[in-house]
């Protein structure tokens, strides 16, 4: 899409885009290029010498059971967070769309966690589930669950899943609510006249019509779980115990900054960039074109 009428100026447009382009080149393209470049080299810890090794950094990664485990952890983590945050949000949005009384109060009370930083969400749940004094851990122990996320990797993963999903519910809620409100009233009323129960109406009319929103949210939630939750994990479990909660972004950090293995960290960065690019393309290609009926 283009404007018919434009201004004529030789220099001005370049000046206008210059700040954004400068930041982009210096802090986005240059580092990304460096990541790509150093993923093909083997570097010593002090950066004095380096050696071209071709694809060695990549092949080593895929031979490393730890890295493959991280892939699995990331997938479990991402899918669980997306499923949990989306299903709860959908239920709440359907309910909020139905109420007449106190609708705005409910909405206010449901959307504020959007503003809570993932790191803070993590720290608070870490406190609630602390095996020795957390209140939720206390309830779980009373119910007979042997809760200790410091030693049990699965429980640690569950802890970060719950914290990450908790923070994301508000976001999904707002989008589902907007989606629900755009569904024509007449469809629901027609179905009601045909004596479809609310349950039937939801599954045969509302839910299919929400497909574009659901798809969009699925991609956004996966991106959130894969990348934005770094803070949540870093501030709480730090990838542990052992590496039960070290998702892929966390591993890029721990390999590079803690393990000082630059080549491998760069190779991991490149793999992650490929993943983000793929997800962004999916989001823009398929979601923008909409899953229409």
């Amino acid at each position: 899409m283009q404007k018919r009428v434009v201004f004529r100026s030789r220099l001005l447009p370049y000046l206008l885009v210059a700040p954004q382009i400068a930041v982009t080149v210096v802090f986005f393209f240059w580092p990304s290029y460096q990541a790509l470049e150093s993923s093909f080299f083997l570097e010593d810890a002090f950066g004095f010498s380096r050696q071209w090794v071709g694809l060695l950094n990549y092949t080593e990664l895929f031979d490393d059971p730890g890295y493959l485990r991280s892939f699995r952890t990331t997938l479990i983590f991402g899918l669980s967070v997306a499923f949990l945050a989306m299903s709860l949000a959908l239920a709440l949005a359907v309910a909020a769309n139905r109420v007449v009384r106190a609708a705005t109060s409910y909405r206010t009370l449901l959307i504020w966690p959007y503003a809570v930083a993932p790191a803070l969400a993590g720290v608070i749940w870490y406190f609630l589930m602390n095996p020795s004094l957390g209140i939720v851990a206390y309830w779980l122990q009373n119910a007979g669950v042997d809760w200790n996320h410091y030693v049990n990797g699965d429980q640690a993963l569950l802890l970060v899943i719950v914290a990450a999903a908790w923070k994301q519910i508000s976001y999904n809620f707002l989008f589902f609510l907007a989606g629900l409100q755009s569904i024509p009233r007449s469809l629901i009323e027609a179905a009601a006249i045909d004596r479809a129960t609310p349950f039937q109406r939801f599954w045969t009319i509302t839910f299919p019509l929400l497909t574009p929103t659901t798809f969009f949210l699925l991609v956004v939630n996966l991106v959130y779980a894969f990348f934005d939750t770094f803070a949540l994990i870093h501030a709480t479990t730090e990838g542990g115990p052992v590496d039960a909660t070290s998702i892929l972004v966390f591993r890029v950090y721990s390999t590079g900054f803690v393990g000082q293995d630059y080549g491998s960290s760069a190779a991991q960065s490149v793999i992650l960039m490929a993943l983000v690019i793929a997800m962004t393309i999916v989001q823009f290609r398929y979601v923008e074109r909409k899953v229409v009926y």
């Binding site: 404007k3 460096q34 909020a96 790191a119 749940w125 960039m273």
Partner: protein
């Protein structure tokens, strides 16, 4: 409501109340814990109602910080967070609106090239290129400055796309009228485009302020100087402060203080917030 079903109405309210409880409970516990002394939090189950140490805890946090974690006063950290958040917000809005203006209202060589360069930044989040970006700012000698907390984060593909989308809906007649009145491009920008964009800027402001305030990884990497710590990142050093056991009443106080500004912004400007969120993501 399509028809009257009392049972369903009851269930609806029940579901909503359960949702509210689930979302509010963790923060309630954090708030309660921040008003107790260390003794009350030493044995399980911990109290679920407020204690009387609140004033003491918060004034210690704000004025003196936590000795086990470097003793940076939280007032200082929150000030740093505010500077970073506002810097990022204004920076992003300024560079994006200018770039979008150039791309929409001018024809020049490489116009779409620039546009795609900006667009691609969507695909390069900091988290995936941590080390090389850190290398770059080290080479530029920017570590431990406010500049490094702000500048690298001010490129924004979403804001540029949003402004571009909005500019495209502005009728061409306005430009024609401006040109007939012999207004130059910058005049048109200041006197016509900026006032028209006011709501969009305000909505974007809320989203970006939250984004800026909640930054974690970037401040963590580029500031080792304690006087530049931001609050969301600083809490990590309290939780993992080595030998000393975490002092939960103070950590929860910090968490509360760190979430108050963005949460207040969301609640106070709810309508704009919802508009900004839904539009900037589409």
């Amino acid at each position: 409501m399509v028809e009257n079903r009392p049972l369903l109405t009851f269930l609806t309210h029940f579901a909503l109340i359960m949702g509210v409880v689930f979302l509010c409970f963790p923060v309630w516990m954090a708030l309660v814990a921040s008003t107790h002394g260390p003794d009350a939090l030493a044995r399980s189950p911990i109290p679920m109602w407020f204690g009387d140490q609140g004033w003491q805890n918060y004034s210690q946090l704000l004025a003196a910080g936590l000795p086990e974690a470097g003793g940076v006063p939280l007032g200082r950290m929150m000030w740093n967070s505010l500077i970073m958040a506002l810097g990022i917000t204004f920076g992003k809005i300024a560079v994006s609106i200018l770039a979008a203006y150039a791309v929409v209202y001018f024809r020049f060589p490489f116009r779409m090239g620039f546009f795609w360069m900006i667009f691609i930044t969507l695909m390069l989040p900091v988290e995936v290129r941590i080390l090389p970006t850190f290398d770059v700012v080290t080479k530029l000698g920017l570590l431990n400055t406010y500049t490094v907390l702000i500048i690298p984060l001010i490129a924004s593909a979403t804001a540029t796309l949003l402004f571009r989308q909005f500019f495209l809906t502005i009728p061409d007649e306005l430009v024609e009228a401006a040109r007939i009145d012999r207004a130059g491009p910058m005049r048109f920008f200041w006197d016509i485009l900026m006032p028209l964009s006011r709501t969009n800027i305000a909505a974007l402001f809320i989203i970006l302020f939250i984004y800026g305030w909640n930054q974690y990884l970037w401040p963590f990497l580029v500031t080792s100087d304690e006087s530049l710590y931001t609050v969301v990142m600083g809490i990590q050093r309290m939780v993992n402060s080595g030998e000393a056991l975490p002092v939960w009443h103070l950590i929860m106080g910090t968490a509360i203080l760190a979430m108050v500004p963005p949460v207040l912004v969301v609640i106070a400007m709810q309508k704009l917030f919802v508009k900004g969120l839904v539009e900037s993501e589409k």
